[in-house]
Amino acid sequence: MTRVAEGGLFSIVLRVLLGLALLHSPARAREDSKPEPPPPAVDPYTRGERTGLDSAGYVSLGPFPWCEGITTVEIERELAVPILWVETEHFRIGSTLGEYKIPSDRIEKKRIAGELALLEKKFPGVRFPPGKLDPWLRLHLYASRIESVHAQFLDGFGFTDAEFGVSGATAPAPGPRLGMPMKYTVMLSTRRSSLARLVRFTLQRDAADPMRERLPGGSLFFGLSAESVESWGHETDSVLHCQVAANVAMNLVVSLREMLSPIPVWFEYGWAHVASRRVDERFTLYAKGTLREDADSWRWDARVAGLVGNDFAPSFQDLANDKRFADLSGPDHLVAWSKVTWMLQTFAPSALREYVLAVAEPVPRADELDKELFRRDRDLAALATLGGTTVADLEKSWRAWAAKSGSKR
């Protein structure tokens, strides 16, 4: 079993930075509380009917295989909590998320309203309940959000589904799922314990959430609990949504070429920050060293412009030297995000495609080879070919862009 290289650290930093696992429930609430009623067994929006599923673009609402040798039925029995399932075109998703009352936060309210308007088109004739998201609606919303990150990845990097899973020299990777043999899996749970048990059951070991793991049979998994997000001091769906977008984005990019070589960590996190900040710029909470008390500290473009102006912005060369998540400093996170944003705006998807395929290519097997050095040099060489220029020229162009875009708002 291969563990996604940075998933563990990502999780640790989240816990350390944001207040970790110490939010606990009342000791004596037992007598005062009633269990939350389970969601209806049949999805009220598709009615569990084929026409409804087709209209929503779903393959199934379960049961289905989760990974090699394990089905959703077995997981439900093991976790002993009601789980809602959906299989979309690219993902198998489970959720135990409860009802969510849409809060008064203007930005979140507006975003969810927009998302629901789009979702309504997939569920003709259905009216969503006002002011809240019930468990089934949350599942549909997350299925749509997760597929949206996948679509952004294909668009941004010039891939199509059709080119994967086919034989031939031009195929970028052997597996049908961006190179992986099985569909991606995502579990969003209310409690930490459910997720921990799922990982114990599927991988026979312990892990803290958020977690990204390769499951038996070759599905790349991401799991997160709302309880974890709450323990960082946030209860809003926006924060959960940002984490989901960032982690799914990372899973997509690291799975290219079936995870045979780790891609540059600055690029992986830069891309994750892009995905997270497309949802909500206020909640890139996992980026170690970037959190500030100032009200406008979420304005990363202005902060990057400051780093560039003072010559403190790490260069492509500096970033390529970072090997692990822990190596990334606050300025590294800010600049990685800025550089990936710039690359996405500046270069054609076909050029970015060549870059990510080059850095994901397996490292040759040779005893005398310094793999870290090889990967770093390969990253820089791939960057140099990106614009048909040198890394120094690339740096110059990015600095000019970053200085300008930081002073715009």
Binding site: L18, G233, G306, L307
Partner: protein, 247 residues
Amino acid sequence: MKTRPTVPTEAPRGAESRELLDLRWNYPVFKAEPAPVSEHGTSVAPIREALPREKALEVLAGNDPRPLLVLRECSVCNKTDDALLSRTESNERTLVLARFFRCVKLPVDVVEPDHPFHALFPSNESEHLFVSGPDGTAKMPLESDTSRVELWSAMESTLAAAYGLDAIKVTRQVLHGLDKIDECERKLTTLETRKGALMETPRVDVSKVKQLDEEIASALRDAEAARTAVARIFDVKPKTPAAGPAR
């Protein structure tokens, strides 16, 4: 932005202290081995069934020689994963003591007759948590509404038996160490934030940033030393050997 407070502690704790106080739950899952494949290439799927109490305890304890703190989740409680802790009173003493236990959390359906760990919580009337030796001896059942004093007393007497340590004294040492860690962390955070802000401020005096680097390096050393001191207190080994065949 709506935020939630963290669990009550004596004083607001920093991230490093909270990490050290974190309850590290284990979530055991027992998977029965499938029957061997027959000569016809077929096999019978393993049946889910309750383990004998001794075997259940063996699975829970694993190779960990620490005493056990076992909690079952309950469908009636509101997110009751932690019947152990209080929302209104300080939990620091409980959290410090819990670090010396192997903390195990079992799911709601553990009371079902076919759950592998059913023997530990045979019905809905069973206690919500218990502390015991690693082999289940000297078990002390506790409820979510047990008083703090009773809870601590049970935990401390278990620790005294397992480690021979004076839990009250150790708790005091740990809390003092955590105060020191918090102080170092506050200083470090202030310095790092100031450095980050300076680096991002247009036309900054670079020498000011370099000066901060030296202070940060010194603060990092202090923080590491404070953390190591607390980690050393937690790094005590139980007197009793790991659970063996004598269960």
